[in-house]
């Protein structure tokens, strides 16, 4: 593993950190998350216009800066630190990744709209009972989709959705671009535990043009799996930011909180707990960087590195978040500090893109043995 940030990457990270420190203060964020629409579309445009953020990881022919996994990692970590709810992950990592690998002018055009901030594209791949039961049928004018999708995060904010379905007569997975306003598409939106918005989708006689299909019918399973690994690596990077904040807040709290005539930071048990949190974050960081660097390798290498990162990060999230609450004592249980929101995001990340069991199982299946 050889890894140094180049100048542009350092600049991207520093600019973003500075921007968020000024423009994304926690109290303002809390109000926005509680209200409607639950995010800041104007800020999204500033991400595109002022920071060039939305195209940071996109190919140059789509108006992006030609970056990739490392740029995604930097953005996600910064977003984690500031607990940004705007859908960079869903739109610029997941959907954009799928579009960038899909042939055709329509995909490239949509990608360009993502980079400039005028399209919010969000994938909807999971279903209430697992697998892909959503059916796509050829019609004279294109396609008709019928089925349901569950917990499509950021879907309420989307201009387009990328929906997985099974095309009549094929066995593999297919992906379709669906405009948000399409007839026959209904969204049931709701807040999630970590203050985001998600929706369950119902497609009933949803009519699409022929160009809505991405790539070849039935041939998108590998694309979907790559997308999920990229998503997992991205939330791992986000978790690094979330955990850094949880750790820093806790460190500050124990240095300030006095009991028994001294700062509780002086108690050895509390010191060791903070160190144990730090250790887990360090391991999580090493595994996450490696996973990001492995996204362009073979599917097997990618999967092993991502599963290792996701498990290492998930366990770190659990330990760090729970101990951050514990060391804050009663205050940690209240909804009055940023802590609570970071805690919830950390626990959500634990489960997103496959929980510990899922990735342990996948890893055991692939049976790599450390060299």
């Amino acid at each position: 593993m050889n890894f140094e940030l180049d100048m542009a990457q350092c600049l991207l990270r520093d600019n973003l950190d500075n921007f968020l420190a000024r423009q994304y203060r926690f109290e303002a964020r809390r109000q926005i998350v509680l209200g409607e629409p639950g995010w800041q579309p104007t800020l999204w445009r500033r991400f595109a216009d002022e920071l060039g953020l939305l195209g940071a990881g996109l190919p140059e022919q789509a108006g992006g800066s030609g970056g990739g996994a490392i740029e995604h990692m930097l953005v996600m970590e910064a977003f984690g630190k500031a607990l940004v709810v705007e859908p960079y992950l869903e739109c610029c990592v997941l959907a954009a990744g799928v579009l960038a690998r899909s042939p055709g002018d329509a995909a490239t055009a949509l990608l360009a709209r993502i980079a400039e901030g005028s399209a919010i594209v969000v994938p909807a791949w999971s279903e209430p009972v697992g697998g892909v039961a959503t059916q796509a049928r050829r019609t004279p004018d294109g396609w008709q989709l019928d089925g349901r999708k569950a917990v499509a995060v950021a879907a309420p904010w989307a201009t387009h959705l990328i929906v997985s379905a099974q095309v009549e007569g094929t066995t593999g997975t297919s992906l379709f671009v669906v405009p948000r306003q399409a007839q026959g598409l209904a969204l049931q939106s709701y807040p999630t535990i970590d203050g985001r918005r998600a929706a369950d989708l119902e497609c009933a006689g949803l009519a699409l043009t022929a160009e809505a299909l991405l790539g070849t019918a039935g041939a998108s399973q590998a694309l979907l799996e790559q997308m999920l690994d990229e998503g997992a690596a991205a939330v791992c990077a986000e978790a690094l930011g979330v955990m850094a904040r949880l750790h820093a807040d806790t460190l500050a709290y124990v240095c300030e909180r006095r009991q028994f005539g001294q700062a509780i930071a002086g108690f050895q048990v509390i010191q060791h707990r903070l160190v144990a949190m730090h250790l887990k974050i360090e391991l999580a960081r090493a595994a996450t960087v490696f996973a990001s660097l492995s996204l362009s390798k073979t599917a097997r290498e990618r999967a092993l590195a991502v599963s290792t990162a996701k498990v290492t990060v998930a366990e770190a999230c659990r330990f760090v978040a729970q101990n951050a609450v514990q060391l804050h004592g009663g205050m940690g249980m209240t909804d009055e500090l940023p802590l609570g929101s970071y805690f919830k995001r950390a626990t959500a990340i634990e489960r997103e893109f496959g929980d510990v069991d899922h990735h342990l199982r996948r890893h055991a299946r692939l049976e790599r043995v450390a060299a």
């Binding site: 049931q188 709701y190 807040p191 535990i193 006095r258 009991q259 609450v325 004592g329 249980m333 069991d357």
Partner: protein, 393 residues
């Protein structure tokens, strides 16, 4: 009257007075907290409380002169047993009953007992507890809410936190500072009417949503002199007794016991194998593991109880709070795991009400190792009192 006769009479009384609707599981909103603002969505709840209180059986072992049942240990046990056999809900939930009552019986003046105990037995007065302060949590004795001698009354100023149900209570029992020169030796135990001018409360929102906890503010509150319990500056001894009591209480309350539900969900989410077991072997074994831990904890509780009942000092009882918190947290971790997508919801459709409730209980369980003495403080206490290790913090 022999115990047999007592039992026979009890049974026929129960047949006549225990409403069938109260021999079912108790939903949260039907908990019989009593008090002047008591709510009884099911009128049977009220009837049952009043009937039990009339016999003094809401406080079976308290003396009859204070409204109690005056039962000896044997008969109290018979009463318990018959109630349990019928699956009867408790007639009254009350901090007055569980915490203040025993303190008044031991430390209260005759006048205090006569005035305060009967309304507790009857569920007329609801009490809350004013102990912790923002800067006095684990180090409770550093509390600063002060009661100043103003001649014919005390003048109380300060702020209490984690006062459960303060916004519903009629009275509060409080630790207050009456001497700023000494730490533990400057604390007194005071009873304060929540209707007194100058008292206000603010509910505390938790990461799990709304909660019964409040902050309670005292701004120049006048309290009659005779509401001091025990000697002036003698409050710490009372507090310690009460805290011990609270620890046991917290440990026993809301502890596990829903593994059946977890198993059912796991079957639903992961399917079953050829032998009808949860298909996911690792999860199945984790559930078995949690079950074993809960069971061992429960057995330790029973052992502690037996030793306490036999008048012995129990080293097991100090274990219980810690182990119960751990068991409960582990329990809800399993629960949330079996919820899958359902565990990501926060409110509203399409999530099932039960899933949302479980998710919030899971978040709430993070407090188990904090409330009633953090696990860290609890371990300090065990190190000193049970293992005899030298004191540090």
């Amino acid at each position: 009257m022999s115990d047999e006769v007592f039992t026979r009479d009890l049974c026929s009384w129960l047949d006549a007075n225990l409403p069938a609707s109260l021999c079912t599981a108790m939903p949260e909103d039907e908990i019989p907290w009593g008090g002047s603002r008591g709510r009884f969505p099911n009128p049977d709840t009220r009837r049952w409380m009043d009937a039990m209180a009339a016999r003094g059986w809401t406080a079976p072992t308290w003396p009859r002169m204070y409204g109690g049942g005056g039962l000896d240990a044997t008969r109290a046990a018979i009463l318990q047993q018959e109630l349990r056999r019928r699956g009867a809900r408790p007639a009254l939930f009350s901090f007055g009953l569980w915490m203040l009552g025993p303190v008044l019986l031991e430390y209260g003046s005759e006048a205090q007992k006569q005035r305060f105990l009967p309304p507790i037995v009857r569920g007329e007065a609801r009490w809350c507890q004013g102990y912790s302060e923002p800067d006095a949590g684990s180090d409770l004795a550093s509390l600063r809410t002060k009661a100043v001698d103003a001649g014919d009354h005390w003048r109380v100023d300060g702020r209490k936190i984690w006062t459960s149900y303060a916004d519903e209570a009629d009275w509060i029992f409080c630790l207050v500072r009456t001497d700023t020169g000494r730490k533990h030796g400057g604390i007194s135990f005071l009873l304060i009417d929540m209707k007194s001018p100058g008292i206000s409360t603010r509910p505390i929102r938790l990461i799990s949503g709304s909660s019964p906890f409040c902050e309670t503010f005292f701004d120049d509150v006048a309290v009659p002199k005779e509401h001091l319990v025990g000697p002036l500056n003698g409050g710490w001894e009372i507090a310690r007794k009460l805290l011990q009591y609270e620890r046991q209480n917290v440990a026993a309350a809301g502890f596990g016991g829903e593994l059946k539900r977890i198993e059912a969900r796991a079957r639903q989410l992961f399917g079953i194998d050829a032998q009808g077991r949860i298909a996911d072997a690792a999860l199945r074994e984790r559930i078995a593991h949690a079950d074993m831990y809960e069971y061992a904890t429960r057995l330790t509780m029973q052992r502690a109880q037996r030793e306490v009942d036999a008048g012995q000092a129990s080293s097991a009882s100090s274990v219980v709070k810690y182990a119960a918190a751990h068991a409960n947290q582990q329990h809800y971790e399993l629960m949330i795991e079996t919820l899958g997508y359902e565990g990501l919801g926060w409110q509203g459709a399409p999530y099932e009400t039960e899933s949302l409730e479980q998710t919030r209980k899971w978040l709430r369980s993070k407090g188990n190792s904090i409330e009633g003495g953090t696990s860290e403080i609890n371990l300090n206490v065990i190190a000193r009192r049970v293992l005899g290790l030298p004191g540090g913090a």
